[in-house]
């Protein structure tokens, strides 16, 4: 357990005030969305049925929560025990991430009170049904993977033993479920070849969604560890994080080579060199969000500098969020000629969810043994 007293400095007071205002706005937006509907509160319409909540809260949210299965798989299945100190925070980040994804999805669907329909109404041909089931099951797995932290806190040793016994099975299930739905989020777009620019449309979409999720999972663990070390005045697990940065170099390198090989073989590379906004978005995603962090993290000096690691990991996160936004939002700008920009209320809700997740992490880490580890 971490015991630290937050001092009421001006920065803390102003930060708290901004957060309170933001959350009030977010809560009001959620209330209005539920009472008045999507049309009155969002900038969605028949030309742009999917917006910020799908592109960021759901699609990016699932990817950003990938650190859980990446670290759990590394520790339990590949016996990389070195990462055990970052396992619990990674699982907590993932668990909170999925809860926020589900919350965002409930707000986005037209009839939130029907969120349970996919449990009993099945269209087996639908990728989205598969994603829905994987998200439900994996959120349950994450809850169980995180449960030892709670059980230790309340000294429930018998239950703790049960969880320890089933942990390997949980981790395997978690890795399989994650592989399925992380990739399937990319498969969602396979059915719309006429709407997605050839820079992105490929039968390999599920493969690229999966690899980029692994990359951003590593990036999120680095960012989350860096932030919590500052918040809780703990030592930074430098050797672990630089190790993860090194792993990210290889994941990104493989990803970049595959992406460009695929784009070139399909004859779409020329689209990246046209003076278009689409090409700009492509380079923002791949150049700034994948190639740059790969080059940075390839340098030893960056990997062993706290700020270098942190900034490079932020770039990876930026790149993967751009990938999801390019798929779910910006490709539709080009296709429909209708430039959807989220409404203030959409932005407020998204910011409320993100900050809510960060604060929840902080509160849980403060009262539960998140930064302690045993098997």
């Amino acid at each position: 357990m971490i015991v630290s007293r937050a001092k009421l400095t001006p920065t803390v007071l102003i930060g708290g005030g901004v957060l309170a205002l933001l959350w009030a706005g977010g809560a009001l937006s959620i209330l209005l969305r539920l009472i008045l509907g999507l049309g009155a509160t969002t900038n969605l319409n028949d030309a742009t049925p999917w917006g910020l909540w799908i592109g960021f809260d759901v699609m990016s949210g699932v990817a950003l929560a990938a650190g859980g299965f990446v670290i759990a798989g590394s520790v339990y299945l590949f016996r990389r025990e070195k990462y055990r100190p970052v396992l619990r925070p990674a699982i907590l980040t993932a668990f909170l991430g999925y809860l926020l994804v589900i919350f965002g999805l409930v707000l986005d669907i037209g009839q939130p009170w029907r969120i349970w329909h996919p449990i009993v109404m099945w269209n087996p041909r639908s990728v989205l049904l598969e994603v829905a089931w994987c998200v439900m099951l994996y959120t349950t797995v994450l809850a169980l993977e995180f449960s030892p932290v709670v059980l230790e806190r309340f000294k429930l040793h018998k239950l703790l033993k049960v969880v320890h016994v089933i942990t390997p099975v949980l981790v395997i299930a978690g890795v399989i479920l994650s592989t399925l739905h992380q990739s399937s989020l990319g498969s969602l777009f396979l059915i719309m070849p006429e709407k997605i620019n050839p820079l992105w449309y490929t039968p390999l979409l599920p493969v690229f969604f999966f690899i980029s999720a692994v990359g951003v999972g590593l990036g999120m663990v680095i960012v989350e560890s860096s932030l919590s070390c500052r918040a809780f005045h703990r030592g930074l697990e430098m050797t672990i994080l630089s190790d993860l940065g090194w792993a990210a170099v290889w994941v990104l390198a493989g990803y970049i080579v595959l992406r460009f090989a695929d784009i070139t073989l399909r004859g779409a590379l020329v689209n990246a060199f046209r003076p278009t906004f689409t090409a700009f978005l492509f380079w923002l995603e791949i150049g700034v969000g994948a190639i740059l962090p790969m080059l940075l993290l390839a340098r030893r000096s960056v990997r062993f500098s706290a700020s270098g690691l942190f900034r490079s990991a932020l770039l990876i996160i930026f790149g993967v969020v751009m990938y999801r936004l390019n798929m779910a939002i910006f490709n539709f700008w080009a296709y429909t000629g209708h430039y959807y920009v989220p409404s203030l209320m959409e932005v407020l809700v998204t910011l409320t969810l993100v900050t809510g997740g960060v604060v929840a992490f902080g509160v849980i880490a403060r009262f539960f043994p998140v930064f302690e580890y045993s098997e």
């Binding site: 025990e81 037209g110 009839q111 029907r114 969120i115 041909r125 639908s126 989205l128 498969s187 045993s374």
Partner: protein
Amino acid sequence: MAVSRREFLKLGGSVGMALALAGALEQESVQAEATTSDQFGVLIDISRCIGCRTCELACKQANHLPPDSQPAGQAKLGARTFTYVDKRQITQDDGKPITRFVKRQCMHCIDPACASVCPVGALQKSDIGAVIYHDDRCIGCRYCMTACPFDVPRYEWESSAPLIRKCQFCFGRLEQGQPTACSAACPSGAIKFGKRSELLAEAAARIKENPEKYVDYIYGKDEVGGTSVLYLSNVPFEELGFRMDLPKEPLPQRTHAVMSKLPSLVLGLAVVLGAGTVLSGRTTNGNGQVDEESLQGGWRK
């Protein structure tokens, strides 16, 4: 659906679920093959359309929709407009401008993208040819809207309990042996209702009788694997705003290509990861503490 929920529950576990999904998938595609030739359709002959918009009105009455006041040329599909007549000004080869009218509505694909993506099966292709919406199932994910290659489904954005809205091919009338309201109302013979196979033959015959009049193309014969709504035209389709670059295979095949591999992926991962976990041994000692030595093992050796 061929596999009942009870059977699903009995199977249990993600491996069993994935395998069962694959089985149901195979059976569905076989069913789709068998019923295609008997399905109903409409043939819209653009050269015969006079732009009177009687079909719009008939549609509104048949579906109990409020009449709206969209002026000609500015009408579009909406939550209260399932069909409209698109007014198109085009320039002929000799420089003279001409006007053509194109009735737009749901194309009622033979293997509809919307029905394949809907997680809860709210959209279904019926045996009579109509792509029908079951509003009691719909959760409002709007995937049908993004998946539709013709951008047809519309949403009740202003409602707090919104539903998808689109042409339902007057399936209630069809079941009573009546044609669609729009085709019954058309005074110029531009909309012909019938069996899709017969309409295809009719369209081919019209082109053959008047080869200098018609464009030698039946739109909807092969687009995305074929649609129940077919078009004939005496001006090139691309000039009327028709997408000519759509794949000729059903779009759901692209999803099926990946979905069909998932059961083997799940099985493979379960076997490899399970075996790997067992074989790699334990890294903790008897007290549940992690071995000091194994703590050094990371991805970087």
